[in-house]
Amino acid sequence: MAERASLWQRLRPQRGAMIGLWVLALLVVFVLLGPWLWRIAPTHIDIRARNQGLSWAHPLGTDQLGRDMMARLMAGGRISLAVAMAVMPITLGLGGLVGLLAGYFRRLDGVLMRLTELFLALPLLPLLLLMVTLFREPLARHLGPPGGSFVLIVLAIGLTSWMAVARILRGEVLALKERGFIEAARAIGTRPGAMLWRHVLPNVASPVVVAATLGMATAITTESALSFLGLGFPPDYPTLGRLLHDAMDQMQQYPLRALLPGLMIAVTVLAVNAVGEGLREALDPRSGSR
């Protein structure tokens, strides 16, 4: 508890991080609580009301089939955040496991770091594109089109983004092993599992939190980029990137329709990054290092 309180206190003076946190909170409220107040379904078609501007009935206008833009933005934002939240545990789990084991057990270090390097050497965006286009179909068959796409995109992003966490963790663990208390713990016969859990993990948590936060921003950007290329979620499924993609043809007639999802992507990523950078500054005694 004391640890957490001090983190908060250290984060408080970081103005950028605080702003980011507030913006993020507002976004979460908008996408999670919004649908409870604004009860139009994002897929409801009202063909008489298509291509409308701002109005009381549709505060942010409607799209080419008369679907409410506000409801669609809420749904899109929810998916973007959900993707980011779902990618995080994969990144942390995989990267954490590899990093911890490689750092702690000398024998595993070589193999695991080779593996990490192999993954770093893979052309990630092309591979991501490949995985998403090629495997959308079988997964969609088993989990339904949106579900399949979600699982696929989360897995694909997760599988291609754990390496940074692994490297950071390995470095931290290696440095930690030199410190006195680990030696002491080992001397009194603490077993490796307990050692990792009780002594190592708590001491390397902060850089991992930072990496995870920054990773969330990347996940959001990647998901939007995929949808923007038309390769993410299925066409009838509103995500922020998809909304932007769909609005591009009609950008001149209805600029707002492209601007709103675009702005929402930018603000979300910026806020997450601001929080991540703030955390980094707050947690790193030698502030500013990588």
Partner: protein, 335 residues
């Protein structure tokens, strides 16, 4: 030094083989049909024959070995022939694209200049912008310049390139009509007028990528320099009473050089990957656009070759970074 180079090179080969197998199996496992998008007026018997002509029916280990042979043996021979006018590779089947039936590497060679022009230039500009920014930022960490530069950099790498690009197209090409909206790959630069046209059509993609690259690189460089600033010899230099500028130039910069080179070399391949979106957005018919086209058409040889070329690039750049680091870092050189 040579020893290190050879050792690293020897390690790169299995890595590359592993990667090629991973990509190949990924493609193999994927459903879909290169002839899927064909009009329905083509009868199934004809489709079946065309499929056979593409060699789709062979078992996969055979096709994988054939790919390796074509990539590592036939292709180099072919280019050697072209260079020297010999005919070692004559009669050997090169890797052929399903879409155009043209040798995959001829198409890649055709498209490389566009990608290099746009991506390469923007990377160069990104480095040129990032270097001074990083140095000035590191000089007074948390100073006013560092804060402003830091915020701008965060903005730069937080804004997805497809967003900044879209805004630029909208304002400069559609609204103001200052710049062309279609990238003309057939343009030959022969005089000042055509050079101007080339610069005009490159302006937007280069600007977008430069912004992104500069933000990324400056962040890493600043961190690398700060690490150096905390080194003991810098403290000693400061203690000796050297001015901050002199410390920065004589001690920090010189010692940061190795990490800078590493950062720059390692960043290069990711930029190629990232250019996929920019090329798509600005209609630059380069390698990235080719990849998307090939993926959509299930043109497996093309996808395979392109992804592998990207992987090759990454491995080579990593190798380069390692070697340069070894050469530039005094500790490693003497040790």
């Amino acid at each position: 030094m040579l020893n290190l180079a050879l050792r690293r090179l020897a390690m790169a080969v299995p890595t590359l083989l592993c990667i090629s197998l991973v990509i190949f199996l990924l493609l193999e496992a994927a459903p879909g049909d290169p002839l899927g998008e064909m009009p329905l007026t083509v009868p199934p018997e004809v489709k079946e024959r065309m499929r056979a002509a593409l060699g789709v029916g062979e078992p996969w280990p055979l096709r994988y070995l054939l790919f390796l042979k074509q990539f590592f043996w036939v292709e180099p021979l072919h280019w050697l022939d072209r260079l020297l006018g010999t005919d070692f590779g004559a009669g050997q089947q090169r890797l052929i694209s399903y879409q155009s039936r043209a040798p995959v590497f001829d198409v890649i060679a055709e498209r490389l200049p566009q990608t290099l022009a746009v991506v390469g230039l923007s990377y160069l500009l990104g480095v040129l912008v990032a270097l001074p920014v990083a140095i000035l930022s590191a000089r007074h960490p948390q100073g006013w310049f560092d804060r402003i530069a830091g915020s701008l950099a965060m903005l730069g790498y937080s804004l997805p390139t497809f967003l900044t690009g879209l805004v630029l197209i909208w304002v400069l090409a559609i609204w103001l009509k200052w710049l062309p909206s279609v990238y003309d790959t057939t343009l030959r630069v022969t005089d000042w007028a055509s050079l101007l046209r080339q610069l005009r059509q490159m302006a937007m993609p280069v600007a977008v990528l430069t912004l992104y690259n500069a933000a990324q690189i400056s962040r890493y460089l600043r961190a690398a320099m700060l690490d150096n600033l905390r080194q003991d010899h810098v403290r000693t230099a400061r203690a000796k009473g050297l001015g901050e500028g002199a410390v920065l130039c004589r001690h920090v910069l010189r010692n940061s050089l190795s990490s800078m080179v590493t950062v720059i070399a390692l960043g290069l391949p990711t930029v190629f990957g990232g250019a996929i979106i920019t090329e798509q957005l600005f209609k630059v018919n380069g390698l990235g656009q080719l990849l998307i086209l090939a993926i959509n058409a299930h043109d497996l040889p093309m996808v395979m070759a392109l992804t592998f070329v990207f992987a090759l690039l990454i491995v080579l750049c990593t190798l380069l970074a390692d070697l340069l680091y070894g050469m530039l870092d005094p500790r490693i050189r003497h040790g």
